[in-house]
Symmetry: C2
Protein backbone atom coordinates (compact mmCIF):
# COMPACT_ATOMS: atom_id res chain seq x y z
CA UNK A 1 0.00 0.00 0.00
CA UNK A 2 1.26 3.46 -0.87
CA UNK A 3 2.34 5.77 1.93
CA UNK A 4 -0.11 8.63 2.46
CA UNK A 5 0.96 12.03 1.13
CA UNK A 6 2.95 13.94 3.77
CA UNK A 7 2.50 17.54 4.94
CA UNK A 8 4.31 19.52 7.60
CA UNK A 9 0.96 20.75 8.88
CA UNK A 10 -2.63 19.65 8.28
CA UNK A 11 -5.32 22.08 9.42
CA UNK A 12 -8.87 20.79 9.85
CA UNK A 13 -11.51 23.47 9.39
CA UNK A 14 -11.36 26.69 7.35
CA UNK A 15 -12.95 29.28 9.62
CA UNK A 16 -10.98 32.27 10.95
CA UNK A 17 -8.90 29.96 13.21
CA UNK A 18 -7.89 27.54 10.45
CA UNK A 19 -7.39 30.22 7.81
CA UNK A 20 -5.19 32.37 10.08
CA UNK A 21 -3.16 29.34 11.11
CA UNK A 22 -2.76 28.60 7.40
CA UNK A 23 -1.55 32.14 6.64
CA UNK A 24 1.12 31.69 9.30
CA UNK A 25 2.29 28.16 8.53
CA UNK A 26 2.27 28.65 4.76
CA UNK A 27 4.14 31.94 5.10
CA UNK A 28 6.70 30.14 7.31
CA UNK A 29 7.18 27.75 4.36
CA UNK A 30 5.67 24.79 6.15
CA UNK A 31 3.96 22.60 3.57
CA UNK A 32 0.34 22.98 4.69
CA UNK A 33 -2.95 21.29 3.77
CA UNK A 34 -6.25 22.85 4.86
CA UNK A 35 -9.21 20.45 4.91
CA UNK A 36 -12.78 21.76 5.03
CA UNK A 37 -16.02 19.84 4.69
CA UNK A 38 -18.22 22.81 3.76
CA UNK A 39 -17.71 26.40 2.69
CA UNK A 40 -14.30 27.95 3.31
CA UNK A 41 -14.78 30.73 5.87
CA UNK A 42 -16.73 28.73 8.44
CA UNK A 43 -19.40 30.28 10.66
CA UNK A 44 -18.55 33.86 9.66
CA UNK A 45 -20.12 33.06 6.29
CA UNK A 46 -23.46 33.49 8.07
CA UNK A 47 -22.58 37.00 9.30
CA UNK A 48 -23.94 39.72 7.06
CA UNK A 49 -21.85 42.33 8.83
CA UNK A 50 -19.00 41.73 11.27
CA UNK A 51 -18.68 45.02 13.14
CA UNK A 52 -16.05 43.90 15.61
CA UNK A 53 -13.27 42.35 13.54
CA UNK A 54 -10.47 44.87 14.11
CA UNK A 55 -9.26 46.71 11.02
CA UNK A 56 -12.66 47.15 9.38
CA UNK A 57 -14.28 50.28 10.86
CA UNK A 58 -17.25 50.08 8.49
CA UNK A 59 -17.73 46.39 9.24
CA UNK A 60 -17.15 43.58 6.78
CA UNK A 61 -19.36 40.89 5.31
CA UNK A 62 -18.39 37.52 6.79
CA UNK A 63 -18.27 35.81 3.41
CA UNK A 64 -15.96 38.53 2.11
CA UNK A 65 -13.62 38.28 5.13
CA UNK A 66 -13.33 34.51 4.72
CA UNK A 67 -12.50 34.98 1.05
CA UNK A 68 -9.80 37.54 1.86
CA UNK A 69 -8.20 35.23 4.42
CA UNK A 70 -8.21 32.30 2.00
CA UNK A 71 -6.64 34.43 -0.75
CA UNK A 72 -3.97 35.55 1.73
CA UNK A 73 -3.07 31.98 2.71
CA UNK A 74 -3.08 30.73 -0.87
CA UNK A 75 -0.69 33.53 -1.81
CA UNK A 76 1.83 31.86 0.52
CA UNK A 77 1.31 28.42 -1.06
CA UNK A 78 -1.49 26.85 1.00
CA UNK A 79 -3.04 23.70 -0.45
CA UNK A 80 -6.71 23.01 0.18
CA UNK A 81 -8.95 19.96 0.14
CA UNK A 82 -12.72 19.69 0.34
CA UNK A 83 -13.63 16.58 2.29
CA UNK A 84 -14.71 15.12 5.59
CA UNK A 85 -12.20 14.17 8.27
CA UNK A 86 -13.19 10.85 9.82
CA UNK A 87 -10.35 10.18 12.24
CA UNK A 88 -6.79 10.82 13.37
CA UNK A 89 -4.25 8.09 14.15
CA UNK A 90 -0.76 8.38 15.55
CA UNK A 91 1.68 6.20 13.60
CA UNK A 92 5.48 6.24 13.95
CA UNK A 93 5.34 9.76 15.38
CA UNK A 94 3.37 11.05 12.41
CA UNK A 95 -0.30 11.89 12.57
CA UNK A 96 -2.47 10.18 9.98
CA UNK A 97 -5.51 12.25 9.10
CA UNK A 98 -8.21 10.04 7.62
CA UNK A 99 -10.59 11.77 5.24
CA UNK A 100 -13.32 10.94 2.76
CA UNK A 101 -10.72 11.72 0.08
CA UNK A 102 -8.05 9.40 1.48
CA UNK A 103 -5.39 9.42 4.18
CA UNK A 104 -2.79 12.14 4.71
CA UNK A 105 0.22 12.19 7.04
CA UNK A 106 1.43 15.24 8.96
CA UNK A 107 4.05 16.25 11.47
CA UNK A 108 1.58 18.64 13.17
CA UNK A 109 -2.22 18.92 13.08
CA UNK A 110 -4.44 21.85 14.03
CA UNK A 111 -8.05 21.00 14.94
CA UNK A 112 -10.10 24.06 14.02
CA UNK A 113 -13.47 22.69 12.97
CA UNK A 114 -15.50 25.08 15.13
CA UNK A 115 -18.75 24.30 16.83
CA UNK A 116 -22.31 24.28 15.69
CA UNK A 117 -24.97 26.19 17.58
CA UNK A 118 -27.93 24.01 18.40
CA UNK A 119 -30.91 24.97 16.31
CA UNK A 120 -34.53 25.15 17.39
CA UNK A 121 -35.59 23.16 14.39
CA UNK A 122 -38.72 25.21 13.72
CA UNK A 123 -40.15 26.63 10.49
CA UNK A 124 -38.60 29.99 9.58
CA UNK A 125 -35.36 29.43 11.51
CA UNK A 126 -33.16 28.76 8.50
CA UNK A 127 -35.08 31.15 6.23
CA UNK A 128 -34.51 34.12 8.58
CA UNK A 129 -30.95 33.26 9.68
CA UNK A 130 -29.04 36.56 9.59
CA UNK A 131 -32.36 38.34 9.04
CA UNK A 132 -33.43 38.50 12.66
CA UNK A 133 -32.47 34.99 13.75
CA UNK A 134 -29.06 35.01 15.47
CA UNK A 135 -27.01 32.64 17.58
CA UNK A 136 -24.63 35.23 19.09
CA UNK A 137 -25.68 38.34 21.04
CA UNK A 138 -22.09 39.61 21.33
CA UNK A 139 -21.88 39.51 17.53
CA UNK A 140 -25.29 40.87 16.55
CA UNK A 141 -26.81 42.57 19.61
CA UNK A 142 -25.70 46.07 18.60
CA UNK A 143 -27.76 45.74 15.41
CA UNK A 144 -31.02 45.69 17.43
CA UNK A 145 -30.89 49.13 19.03
CA UNK A 146 -34.33 50.16 20.39
CA UNK A 147 -35.94 46.98 19.01
CA UNK A 148 -37.85 44.22 20.77
CA UNK A 149 -35.94 40.94 20.79
CA UNK A 150 -36.45 37.45 22.20
CA UNK A 151 -33.84 35.13 23.67
CA UNK A 152 -34.57 31.40 23.66
CA UNK A 153 -33.04 29.36 26.47
CA UNK A 154 -32.73 29.42 30.24
CA UNK A 155 -29.07 28.66 31.00
CA UNK A 156 -26.14 30.94 31.87
CA UNK A 157 -25.46 31.72 28.25
CA UNK A 158 -29.08 32.61 27.45
CA UNK A 159 -29.62 34.87 30.45
CA UNK A 160 -26.21 36.53 29.95
CA UNK A 161 -27.16 37.18 26.36
CA UNK A 162 -30.41 38.77 27.56
CA UNK A 163 -28.41 41.07 29.86
CA UNK A 164 -26.11 41.96 26.98
CA UNK A 165 -29.07 42.64 24.68
CA UNK A 166 -30.71 44.89 27.32
CA UNK A 167 -27.92 47.40 26.61
CA UNK A 168 -29.32 47.89 23.12
CA UNK A 169 -32.87 46.61 22.77
CA UNK A 170 -35.97 48.41 24.05
CA UNK A 171 -37.28 45.12 25.43
CA UNK A 172 -35.88 41.60 25.83
CA UNK A 173 -38.18 38.61 26.32
CA UNK A 174 -36.52 35.43 27.56
CA UNK A 175 -38.45 32.38 26.36
CA UNK A 176 -37.79 29.10 28.16
CA UNK A 177 -39.52 25.76 27.79
CA UNK A 178 -39.23 24.88 31.49
CA UNK A 179 -40.89 26.55 34.48
CA UNK A 180 -37.52 27.57 35.96
CA UNK A 181 -34.34 29.03 34.57
CA UNK A 182 -31.18 26.96 34.96
CA UNK A 183 -28.78 29.95 34.97
CA UNK A 184 -26.71 30.67 38.12
CA UNK A 185 -28.68 32.52 40.81
CA UNK A 186 -26.55 35.66 40.58
CA UNK A 187 -27.12 35.93 36.82
CA UNK A 188 -30.86 35.38 37.31
CA UNK A 189 -30.97 38.12 39.97
CA UNK A 190 -29.28 40.54 37.61
CA UNK A 191 -31.79 39.74 34.92
CA UNK A 192 -34.78 40.04 37.30
CA UNK A 193 -33.46 43.47 38.35
CA UNK A 194 -33.23 44.70 34.75
CA UNK A 195 -36.53 46.41 33.85
CA UNK A 196 -36.11 45.77 30.11
CA UNK A 197 -36.06 41.97 30.57
CA UNK A 198 -39.23 39.90 30.93
CA UNK A 199 -39.71 36.14 31.00
CA UNK A 200 -42.03 33.72 29.25
CA UNK A 201 -41.62 30.36 30.98
CA UNK A 202 -43.21 27.02 30.04
CA UNK A 203 -43.15 28.28 26.49
CA UNK A 204 -41.89 26.79 23.25
CA UNK A 205 -41.67 28.25 19.78
CA UNK A 206 -43.73 26.76 16.97
CA UNK A 207 -42.54 29.00 14.16
CA UNK A 208 -40.60 32.14 13.26
CA UNK A 209 -42.46 34.39 10.86
CA UNK A 210 -41.82 37.56 8.89
CA UNK A 211 -41.40 39.00 5.46
CA UNK A 212 -37.93 40.23 4.58
CA UNK A 213 -36.96 40.14 8.28
CA UNK A 214 -38.35 38.46 11.39
CA UNK A 215 -41.66 40.01 12.49
CA UNK A 216 -43.15 37.60 15.02
CA UNK A 217 -42.94 34.28 16.85
CA UNK A 218 -45.69 31.68 17.14
CA UNK A 219 -45.65 30.49 20.76
CA UNK A 220 -47.02 27.50 22.59
CA UNK A 221 -47.65 27.30 26.34
CA UNK A 222 -46.53 23.80 27.31
CA UNK A 223 -48.78 23.70 30.39
CA UNK A 224 -52.04 25.04 28.98
CA UNK A 225 -51.51 24.37 25.29
CA UNK A 226 -52.49 27.99 24.59
CA UNK A 227 -51.14 29.46 21.36
CA UNK A 228 -50.06 33.09 20.99
CA UNK A 229 -48.11 35.44 18.75
CA UNK A 230 -45.24 37.66 19.92
CA UNK A 231 -43.99 40.54 17.78
CA UNK A 232 -40.19 40.79 17.79
CA UNK A 233 -37.50 42.13 15.47
CA UNK A 234 -34.96 39.56 16.51
CA UNK A 235 -34.64 36.16 18.12
CA UNK A 236 -31.42 34.97 19.74
CA UNK A 237 -31.27 31.19 20.05
CA UNK A 238 -29.07 30.16 22.97
CA UNK A 239 -29.78 26.51 23.66
CA UNK A 240 -26.24 25.18 23.53
CA UNK A 241 -23.69 24.26 20.94
CA UNK A 242 -21.83 21.20 19.84
CA UNK A 243 -18.20 21.02 18.77
CA UNK A 244 -17.21 18.89 15.77
CA UNK A 245 -15.02 16.55 17.80
CA UNK A 246 -16.59 13.13 17.32
CA UNK A 247 -13.63 11.98 15.25
CA UNK A 248 -11.08 12.71 18.02
CA UNK A 249 -12.94 11.07 20.91
CA UNK A 250 -10.49 8.75 22.61
CA UNK A 251 -7.55 10.48 20.91
CA UNK A 252 -7.57 13.94 22.55
CA UNK A 253 -8.65 15.08 26.00
CA UNK A 254 -12.08 16.70 25.69
CA UNK A 255 -14.11 18.58 28.30
CA UNK A 256 -17.50 17.19 29.42
CA UNK A 257 -19.23 19.08 26.58
CA UNK A 258 -16.88 17.68 23.97
CA UNK A 259 -14.63 20.71 23.47
CA UNK A 260 -10.89 20.15 23.05
CA UNK A 261 -8.85 21.00 26.14
CA UNK A 262 -5.77 23.14 25.36
CA UNK A 263 -3.25 25.21 27.21
CA UNK A 264 -2.58 28.81 26.23
CA UNK A 265 -0.16 27.67 23.52
CA UNK A 266 -3.12 25.80 21.95
CA UNK A 267 -1.41 22.47 22.61
CA UNK A 268 -3.78 19.54 23.20
CA UNK A 269 -3.10 16.43 25.26
CA UNK A 270 -1.25 14.88 22.29
CA UNK A 271 2.12 16.40 21.32
CA UNK A 272 1.98 17.81 17.81
CA UNK A 273 -1.82 18.19 17.81
CA UNK A 274 -3.18 21.69 18.45
CA UNK A 275 -6.70 23.10 18.64
CA UNK A 276 -7.84 26.63 17.84
CA UNK A 277 -11.06 28.63 17.77
CA UNK A 278 -14.57 27.72 18.87
CA UNK A 279 -13.75 24.01 19.05
CA UNK A 280 -11.52 24.44 22.09
CA UNK A 281 -12.69 24.72 25.68
CA UNK A 282 -12.97 28.31 27.03
CA UNK A 283 -12.85 29.97 23.63
CA UNK A 284 -14.43 33.42 23.63
CA UNK A 285 -16.09 32.32 20.34
CA UNK A 286 -15.38 35.39 18.29
CA UNK A 287 -13.86 35.57 14.81
CA UNK A 288 -10.93 37.62 16.11
CA UNK A 289 -10.20 35.35 19.07
CA UNK A 290 -10.34 32.32 16.77
CA UNK A 291 -7.90 34.03 14.40
CA UNK A 292 -5.59 34.76 17.34
CA UNK A 293 -5.76 31.12 18.44
CA UNK A 294 -4.86 29.98 14.93
CA UNK A 295 -1.80 32.22 14.81
CA UNK A 296 -0.76 31.10 18.30
CA UNK A 297 -0.96 27.42 17.27
CA UNK A 298 1.00 28.12 14.08
CA UNK A 299 3.75 30.10 15.83
CA UNK A 300 4.16 27.34 18.40
CA UNK A 301 4.26 24.66 15.69
CA UNK A 302 6.99 26.58 13.94
CA UNK A 303 8.95 26.96 17.18
CA UNK A 304 8.52 23.28 18.02
CA UNK A 305 10.15 22.39 14.71
CA UNK A 306 13.36 23.82 16.14
CA UNK A 307 13.36 21.72 19.29
CA UNK A 308 12.10 18.39 17.98
CA UNK A 309 14.58 15.54 17.42
Amino acid sequence: MAEPAYYDVIIIGAGPAGLTAAIYTARARLNTLLVEIGLFGGQINNAELLENFPGFPDGIDGLELGGLMLKQAEKFGLKTLTGEVTGIEIKNGNKIVKTSEGDFAADSVIIAGGSQRQKLGVPGENEFAGKGVSYCATCDGALFKDRVVAVVGGGNAAVSEALHLARFASKVIVIHRRSELTAQAIIQERAFAEPKITFLLDTTIDAIEGEQFVRSLKLNNTKTGAKSTLEVSGIFVSIGSKPATDYVKGVLQLDPLGYVVTNEKMETSVPGIYAAGDIRANSARQAITAAGDGATAAVNIERSHHTRK
Copy 2:
Protein backbone atom coordinates in the same frame (compact mmCIF):
# COMPACT_ATOMS: atom_id res chain seq x y z
CA MET B 1 -10.77 65.98 47.32
CA ALA B 2 -12.92 65.15 44.31
CA GLU B 3 -13.58 61.51 43.47
CA PRO B 4 -11.68 60.40 40.37
CA ALA B 5 -13.75 60.09 37.17
CA TYR B 6 -15.23 56.59 36.86
CA TYR B 7 -15.18 54.25 33.84
CA ASP B 8 -16.50 50.73 33.42
CA VAL B 9 -13.24 49.77 31.77
CA ILE B 10 -9.83 51.43 31.54
CA ILE B 11 -7.45 50.01 28.95
CA ILE B 12 -3.75 50.79 29.24
CA GLY B 13 -1.93 50.68 25.91
CA ALA B 14 -3.27 51.28 22.39
CA GLY B 15 -1.65 48.54 20.32
CA PRO B 16 -3.72 45.81 18.62
CA ALA B 17 -4.57 44.25 22.02
CA GLY B 18 -5.82 47.46 23.61
CA LEU B 19 -7.56 48.71 20.49
CA THR B 20 -9.40 45.44 19.90
CA ALA B 21 -10.43 45.26 23.55
CA ALA B 22 -11.71 48.82 23.15
CA ILE B 23 -13.76 47.91 20.06
CA TYR B 24 -15.42 45.15 22.08
CA THR B 25 -16.04 46.98 25.36
CA ALA B 26 -17.20 50.21 23.71
CA ARG B 27 -19.50 48.28 21.38
CA ALA B 28 -20.92 46.48 24.44
CA ARG B 29 -21.74 49.95 25.79
CA LEU B 30 -19.23 49.75 28.59
CA ASN B 31 -17.94 53.26 29.26
CA THR B 32 -14.30 52.82 28.23
CA LEU B 33 -11.14 54.93 28.52
CA LEU B 34 -8.03 54.01 26.52
CA VAL B 35 -4.77 55.46 27.86
CA GLU B 36 -1.64 55.54 25.68
CA ILE B 37 1.68 57.21 26.38
CA GLY B 38 2.89 57.32 22.77
CA LEU B 39 1.39 56.83 19.34
CA PHE B 40 -1.94 55.02 19.11
CA GLY B 41 -1.28 51.75 17.28
CA GLY B 42 1.67 50.59 19.37
CA GLN B 43 4.49 48.50 17.92
CA ILE B 44 2.70 47.85 14.60
CA ASN B 45 3.35 51.52 13.78
CA ASN B 46 6.90 50.39 13.01
CA ALA B 47 5.76 47.77 10.51
CA GLU B 48 5.84 49.01 6.94
CA LEU B 49 3.88 46.00 5.76
CA LEU B 50 2.04 43.47 7.89
CA GLU B 51 1.63 40.45 5.61
CA ASN B 52 0.09 38.14 8.19
CA PHE B 53 -2.80 40.07 9.70
CA PRO B 54 -5.76 38.03 8.40
CA GLY B 55 -8.14 39.88 6.11
CA PHE B 56 -5.51 41.86 4.22
CA PRO B 57 -4.20 39.64 1.40
CA ASP B 58 -2.04 42.43 -0.03
CA GLY B 59 -0.66 43.26 3.39
CA ILE B 60 -1.35 46.45 5.30
CA ASP B 61 0.83 49.24 6.62
CA GLY B 62 1.01 49.01 10.42
CA LEU B 63 0.26 52.67 10.91
CA GLU B 64 -2.83 52.35 8.71
CA LEU B 65 -4.09 49.27 10.56
CA GLY B 66 -3.73 51.03 13.92
CA GLY B 67 -5.66 54.00 12.55
CA LEU B 68 -8.47 51.76 11.29
CA MET B 69 -8.78 50.02 14.65
CA LEU B 70 -8.88 53.34 16.52
CA LYS B 71 -11.55 54.69 14.16
CA GLN B 72 -13.57 51.51 14.70
CA ALA B 73 -13.43 51.81 18.50
CA GLU B 74 -14.20 55.54 18.49
CA LYS B 75 -17.25 54.83 16.35
CA PHE B 76 -18.62 52.89 19.32
CA GLY B 77 -17.91 55.73 21.77
CA LEU B 78 -14.39 55.02 23.03
CA LYS B 79 -12.73 57.85 24.96
CA THR B 80 -8.96 58.24 24.75
CA LEU B 81 -6.28 59.89 26.84
CA THR B 82 -2.63 60.54 26.07
CA GLY B 83 -0.63 60.15 29.25
CA GLU B 84 1.62 57.93 31.31
CA VAL B 85 0.22 55.39 33.76
CA THR B 86 2.23 55.46 36.96
CA GLY B 87 0.40 53.00 39.17
CA ILE B 88 -2.73 51.01 39.97
CA GLU B 89 -4.35 50.85 43.39
CA ILE B 90 -7.30 48.81 44.59
CA LYS B 91 -9.73 50.90 46.65
CA ASN B 92 -13.20 49.83 47.80
CA GLY B 93 -13.34 47.23 45.03
CA ASN B 94 -12.59 49.81 42.35
CA LYS B 95 -9.27 50.06 40.61
CA ILE B 96 -7.65 53.50 40.70
CA VAL B 97 -5.44 54.07 37.67
CA LYS B 98 -2.91 56.79 38.41
CA THR B 99 -1.67 58.72 35.41
CA SER B 100 0.34 61.83 34.58
CA GLU B 101 -3.03 63.43 33.75
CA GLY B 102 -4.68 62.55 37.08
CA ASP B 103 -6.40 59.56 38.68
CA PHE B 104 -9.24 57.55 37.14
CA ALA B 105 -11.38 54.83 38.69
CA ALA B 106 -12.58 51.70 36.91
CA ASP B 107 -14.50 48.54 37.53
CA SER B 108 -12.18 46.58 35.22
CA VAL B 109 -8.70 47.28 33.86
CA ILE B 110 -6.91 45.75 30.88
CA ILE B 111 -3.10 45.95 30.91
CA ALA B 112 -2.05 46.02 27.27
CA GLY B 113 1.08 48.15 27.20
CA GLY B 114 3.13 45.69 25.16
CA SER B 115 6.81 45.06 25.49
CA GLN B 116 9.82 46.81 24.12
CA ARG B 117 12.50 44.88 22.26
CA GLN B 118 15.93 45.56 23.66
CA LYS B 119 17.92 47.67 21.27
CA LEU B 120 21.59 47.33 20.43
CA GLY B 121 22.09 51.03 20.97
CA VAL B 122 24.43 51.47 18.00
CA PRO B 123 24.53 54.13 15.30
CA GLY B 124 22.17 53.38 12.42
CA GLU B 125 19.80 51.21 14.48
CA ASN B 126 16.99 53.74 14.75
CA GLU B 127 17.64 55.24 11.34
CA PHE B 128 17.20 51.88 9.55
CA ALA B 129 14.37 50.50 11.71
CA GLY B 130 11.92 48.97 9.24
CA LYS B 131 14.51 49.46 6.50
CA GLY B 132 16.54 46.35 7.19
CA VAL B 133 16.64 46.48 10.99
CA SER B 134 13.96 44.23 12.49
CA TYR B 135 13.12 42.81 15.89
CA CYS B 136 10.81 40.00 14.69
CA ALA B 137 11.74 37.27 12.21
CA THR B 138 8.21 35.81 12.19
CA CYS B 139 6.93 39.24 11.11
CA ASP B 140 9.56 40.28 8.60
CA GLY B 141 11.56 37.17 7.61
CA ALA B 142 9.55 36.55 4.44
CA LEU B 143 10.59 39.96 3.13
CA PHE B 144 14.24 38.78 2.90
CA LYS B 145 13.91 36.01 0.33
CA ASP B 146 17.32 35.10 -1.16
CA ARG B 147 19.04 37.85 0.81
CA VAL B 148 21.89 37.70 3.31
CA VAL B 149 20.77 38.55 6.84
CA ALA B 150 22.34 38.70 10.28
CA VAL B 151 20.81 37.74 13.61
CA VAL B 152 22.20 39.33 16.76
CA GLY B 153 21.98 37.24 19.92
CA GLY B 154 22.77 33.77 21.18
CA GLY B 155 19.73 32.63 23.14
CA ASN B 156 16.80 30.39 22.20
CA ALA B 157 14.94 33.23 20.53
CA ALA B 158 17.91 34.35 18.44
CA VAL B 159 18.85 30.87 17.19
CA SER B 160 15.19 30.02 16.53
CA GLU B 161 14.90 33.21 14.52
CA ALA B 162 17.97 32.16 12.53
CA LEU B 163 16.32 28.81 11.76
CA HIS B 164 13.16 30.61 10.70
CA LEU B 165 15.12 33.00 8.50
CA ALA B 166 16.97 30.11 6.84
CA ARG B 167 13.66 29.25 5.13
CA PHE B 168 13.87 32.49 3.20
CA ALA B 169 17.33 33.99 3.22
CA SER B 170 20.27 32.78 1.11
CA LYS B 171 22.54 33.05 4.13
CA VAL B 172 22.05 33.74 7.85
CA ILE B 173 24.93 34.91 10.03
CA VAL B 174 24.39 34.66 13.78
CA ILE B 175 26.45 37.29 15.60
CA HIS B 176 26.99 36.78 19.32
CA ARG B 177 29.16 38.73 21.73
CA ARG B 178 30.13 35.66 23.80
CA SER B 179 32.23 32.66 22.76
CA GLU B 180 29.31 30.27 23.26
CA LEU B 181 25.62 30.32 22.41
CA THR B 182 23.19 30.12 25.31
CA ALA B 183 20.35 28.50 23.32
CA GLN B 184 19.17 24.99 24.24
CA ALA B 185 21.43 22.22 22.87
CA ILE B 186 18.74 20.83 20.56
CA ILE B 187 18.15 24.23 18.96
CA GLN B 188 21.89 24.74 18.54
CA GLU B 189 22.22 21.32 16.89
CA ARG B 190 19.47 22.19 14.44
CA ALA B 191 21.22 25.43 13.59
CA PHE B 192 24.64 23.75 13.20
CA ALA B 193 23.02 21.25 10.81
CA GLU B 194 21.53 23.99 8.64
CA PRO B 195 24.02 24.79 5.85
CA LYS B 196 22.69 28.33 5.36
CA ILE B 197 23.51 29.33 8.95
CA THR B 198 27.01 30.44 10.03
CA PHE B 199 28.24 31.92 13.30
CA LEU B 200 30.36 34.88 14.28
CA LEU B 201 31.14 34.52 17.97
CA ASP B 202 33.01 36.96 20.25
CA THR B 203 31.68 39.68 18.00
CA THR B 204 29.83 42.91 18.68
CA ILE B 205 28.35 45.46 16.32
CA ASP B 206 29.76 48.96 16.19
CA ALA B 207 27.38 50.40 13.62
CA ILE B 208 24.68 49.64 11.06
CA GLU B 209 25.28 51.33 7.72
CA GLY B 210 23.48 51.77 4.43
CA GLU B 211 21.78 54.24 2.15
CA GLN B 212 18.02 53.84 1.77
CA PHE B 213 18.24 50.36 3.31
CA VAL B 214 20.77 48.48 5.40
CA ARG B 215 23.89 47.56 3.41
CA SER B 216 26.49 46.51 5.95
CA LEU B 217 27.50 46.08 9.58
CA LYS B 218 30.68 47.34 11.22
CA LEU B 219 31.92 44.52 13.46
CA ASN B 220 34.34 44.28 16.34
CA ASN B 221 36.05 41.10 17.52
CA THR B 222 35.97 41.31 21.32
CA LYS B 223 38.99 39.01 21.71
CA THR B 224 41.36 40.43 19.10
CA GLY B 225 39.94 43.92 18.73
CA ALA B 226 39.92 43.36 14.95
CA LYS B 227 37.42 45.47 13.01
CA SER B 228 35.59 44.22 9.92
CA THR B 229 32.64 44.95 7.64
CA LEU B 230 29.86 42.47 6.83
CA GLU B 231 27.50 43.04 3.91
CA VAL B 232 23.90 42.17 4.78
CA SER B 233 20.42 43.24 3.63
CA GLY B 234 18.87 42.76 7.02
CA ILE B 235 19.72 42.52 10.68
CA PHE B 236 17.41 40.87 13.21
CA VAL B 237 18.11 42.00 16.75
CA SER B 238 17.11 39.31 19.25
CA ILE B 239 18.69 40.22 22.56
CA GLY B 240 15.60 40.16 24.73
CA SER B 241 12.62 42.35 25.43
CA LYS B 242 11.15 44.14 28.39
CA PRO B 243 7.48 44.47 29.22
CA ALA B 244 6.13 47.80 30.46
CA THR B 245 5.12 46.44 33.87
CA ASP B 246 7.13 48.49 36.35
CA TYR B 247 3.96 50.21 37.57
CA VAL B 248 2.23 46.93 38.52
CA LYS B 249 5.14 45.32 40.40
CA GLY B 250 3.78 44.20 43.74
CA VAL B 251 0.19 44.46 42.46
CA LEU B 252 0.01 41.69 39.85
CA GLN B 253 1.77 38.35 39.61
CA LEU B 254 4.60 38.67 37.08
CA ASP B 255 6.87 35.99 35.65
CA PRO B 256 10.64 36.17 36.29
CA LEU B 257 11.09 38.33 33.19
CA GLY B 258 8.42 40.77 34.29
CA TYR B 259 5.56 39.64 32.02
CA VAL B 260 2.05 39.50 33.47
CA VAL B 261 0.85 35.99 34.27
CA THR B 262 -2.69 35.30 32.95
CA ASN B 263 -4.92 32.34 32.40
CA GLU B 264 -6.55 31.69 29.03
CA LYS B 265 -9.36 34.12 29.89
CA MET B 266 -6.67 36.82 30.23
CA GLU B 267 -7.43 37.15 33.94
CA THR B 268 -4.46 38.20 36.10
CA SER B 269 -3.89 37.40 39.77
CA VAL B 270 -6.18 40.32 40.74
CA PRO B 271 -9.93 39.97 40.01
CA GLY B 272 -11.06 42.63 37.56
CA ILE B 273 -7.59 43.22 36.15
CA TYR B 274 -6.81 41.57 32.81
CA ALA B 275 -3.73 41.54 30.59
CA ALA B 276 -3.58 41.14 26.82
CA GLY B 277 -0.96 41.07 24.08
CA ASP B 278 2.83 41.10 24.25
CA ILE B 279 2.82 42.19 27.88
CA ARG B 280 1.52 38.85 29.09
CA ALA B 281 3.58 35.73 29.68
CA ASN B 282 3.53 33.20 26.80
CA SER B 283 2.13 35.61 24.24
CA ALA B 284 2.93 34.59 20.66
CA ARG B 285 3.75 38.29 20.14
CA GLN B 286 1.89 38.85 16.91
CA ALA B 287 -0.55 41.62 16.06
CA ILE B 288 -3.33 39.10 15.46
CA THR B 289 -2.73 37.15 18.67
CA ALA B 290 -2.66 40.42 20.63
CA ALA B 291 -5.95 41.42 19.01
CA GLY B 292 -7.41 38.03 19.97
CA ASP B 293 -6.23 38.49 23.56
CA GLY B 294 -7.86 41.90 23.71
CA ALA B 295 -11.21 40.55 22.54
CA THR B 296 -10.95 37.63 24.97
CA ALA B 297 -10.34 40.01 27.89
CA ALA B 298 -13.23 42.23 26.80
CA VAL B 299 -15.70 39.37 26.37
CA ASN B 300 -14.79 38.02 29.80
CA ILE B 301 -15.16 41.46 31.38
CA GLU B 302 -18.59 41.78 29.85
CA ARG B 303 -19.56 38.32 31.12
CA SER B 304 -18.20 39.07 34.59
CA HIS B 305 -20.52 42.08 34.79
CA HIS B 306 -23.40 39.59 34.85
CA THR B 307 -22.09 37.57 37.78
CA ARG B 308 -20.59 40.26 40.02
CA LYS B 309 -22.49 41.31 43.13
